[in-house]
Point group: C2
Chain length 209, copies 2
DNA sequence: ATTTTTATACTGACCAGTCAGTTCAAAATT
DNA sequence: AATTTTGAACTGACTGGTCAGTATAAAAAT
């Protein structure tokens, strides 16, 4: 039988090394930024020789780009799953949105460093990985936009809403609230934060308790 | 007698030079990030010799910190003014929030590069200007928190809302929506964007047009 | 046997910060 | 009024250090 090692596209050992490098790079770059983070630091944090970095990645930029793709891939999959899940359960689009907010929070809870780094790079221009970032951003936002559009089509949301802008605003809401949570009140539970955002999302802010 | 140039805190010429350096630095750092931007670039864009940068600022970091303080000062003042304006006109806290959303949009419309740069640096850690950023962030968010708290006290908002988290979420909503606007649909008018966000803010998303 | 990793040394470009010297307008002196 | 002095503002070549990326021979893992 085929050993567990020879899997599609590379040996297990190599994959493990790459994973270690991702993890080292993501925290360092989140803290310091791409340019301020040296390849030597990344190698050291990963417990690996510098040469190994270049054996596994063509350059520092390429390492970073693949890291971005990898991370946003996880997020997109998670958002999609959340939306589909509520559809299966016969929930409306409001439920789908709510589930996606939660999925977003879960993701940020699990990968806070990646989220930091992503936000920091997202609106930059003139950088090598700009196009990668654009593609990958659109993938994630498109999931939210999709749910909004379906909601409008099905009469659940007002036809007057601006889908693209509203999607961006929702993403921003979750993103900034979650980063605030992680940075300044990390002791709070995910449920707690989710409840606060649900309230805001459903317009239950004004009016009495 | 004291010459006309020697005014409070510095000559006019010096102030003009500092202003040029701010303007050059803000766009370059927004595009490329702090570390990837060289002092030579900043000096060149400002039309000034490198030595002049160091004559006016102790270091690259200090230039950046003063830039941050300067920019967020403008934002905070603008938010405060918006909130007070509606109070004078006898509007409720919802109106105040709405006015602050608009003030935020106006600010971002006028200083998009500063906004980019601010977002990119806000959640970093282990950087020299970390504490400056914290102080300055709190000043701005505190204005929003203040309005929310007053709204709760006055019975206009539910007592169940989480003031800190909701403030962060609102800031995020405006920030990300506005950056999306500037980056991907710059032809749209400010009123248009404001209307979309107002709708979201007041829960007029679900339900029919 | 082949792939992957290690350890170490090296190169060349790049860049933050320095400093000796220049500019120039206002103030003081004649 | 003409001349000299002063000092703040500015200049740009230079320096010392840093860092991405390369090289390579030997070891370890599969």
């Amino acid at each position: 039988m085929e050993s567990s090692s020879a899997r599609s596209g590379g040996s297990t050992r190599r994959e493990a090394t790459r994973q270690k490098l991702y993890e080292a790079a993501v925290t360092l770059i989140a803290e310091q930024g791409f340019s301020a983070t040296t390849v030597d630091e990344i190698a050291e944090r990963a417990g690996v020789a510098k040469g190994t970095v270049y054996y596994n990645f063509a350059s520092k930029s390429v390492l970073f780009e693949e890291l971005l793709r990898h991370g946003v891939g996880l997020l997109t999959a998670s958002l999609r799953e959340a939306a589909e899940q509520t559809a299966h359960e016969g929930g409306g689009k409001v439920d789908a949105l709510d589930a996606m907010v939660r999925a977003g929070l879960v993701f940020i809870d699990r990968y806070p460093a990646f989220t930091q780094l992503y936000v920091a790079e997202l609106w930059r221009t003139n950088r090598a990985w700009q196009s990668t970032l654009m593609v990958v951003r659109q993938e994630a936002v498109a999931v939210v936009e999709g749910v909004l559009r379906e909601g409008v089509a099905g009469g659940e949301f007002s036809e007057e809403i601006d889908v693209q802008l509203t999607a961006a605003a929702l993403v921003g809401m979750v993103l900034v609230a979650a980063l605030d949570w992680k940075s300044f009140q990390p002791q709070r539970s995910l449920d707690d934060v989710h409840a606060a955002l649900s309230r805001l999302l459903q317009g239950r802010v004004s009016g009495r308790a």
